[in-house]
């Protein structure tokens, strides 16, 4: 399991490949891998967005992500998880977040990935501030609801 906060742009596919190479050489039980990548849009709430700045609470952010992953591990049969989140100045098309989950079965991999992502959005202390095309800045205030399984 790994959590990384990155201040520079990252390539989620390279990160996944590197992680798999490093961690899974001797593991033969993986039957399902799910990957969620969140990228920055160039619009939000009806306005064009030029860039954004992501603020966070060093220490608490990692601690909460750790708890979220632990909770997922308690609910589903998981082999490993990788969560990477950008902070700092971000441009449209750049990845913001990567959640990768490895399991023996797809049900566990799908459900745990969704759970981690939704919990991250409602509990991990990150805050987005958008720079609009007209150079006005605004904090994103709309929060998403937590994950509600069917």
């Amino acid at each position: 399991m790994a959590i990384q906060i990155k201040t520079e742009i990252f390539d989620p596919f390279e990160e996944i490949q590197a992680y798999q190479k490093k961690k899974f050489a001797d593991i033969k039980s993986i039957g399902a891998s799910t990957i969620f990548i969140g990228t920055m849009r160039d619009f939000n709430e009806g306005a064009p967005i030029k860039s954004m700045t992501l603020d966070y609470y060093p220490g608490m952010t990692e601690k909460q992500l750790d708890k979220i992953i632990l909770s997922a591990q308690q609910q589903w049969q998981l082999i490993d998880c990788l969560v990477i989140h950008r902070v700092g100045h971000i441009l449209p098309n750049e990845p913001i977040v990567l959640v990768a989950v490895w399991s023996s079965h797809r049900g566990d991999a799908y459900d745990a990935n969704r759970f981690i992502m939704e919990k991250l959005k409602s509990e991990a202390p990150f805050w987005k501030k958008e720079l609009l095309d007209n150079n006005q800045a605004r904090w994103v205030i709309k929060n998403t609801n937590g994950y509600t399984p069917d």
Partner: protein, 77 residues
Amino acid sequence: MSIKVRYFASLKEKIGRSEDTLPYLKPMTIYEVWHHFNVGTTIPENTLAAVNMDYASLDSLIKDGDEVAFFPPVTGG
């Protein structure tokens, strides 16, 4: 000893500070910590609080050496 108080994101901008330090004299709630430093300022609706990097309710009691944080709802991902 003392209590460290931290503010983040829009709340930090709103009150114009990122940190306060309070000498520890007696047990107090998170709500009382807010009013100690922000006299006459109502805590903004939806403000979240944490003690030692775990979420806590505003009526939680803090102890010497704790780090208290106030921030708006999170918007990561």
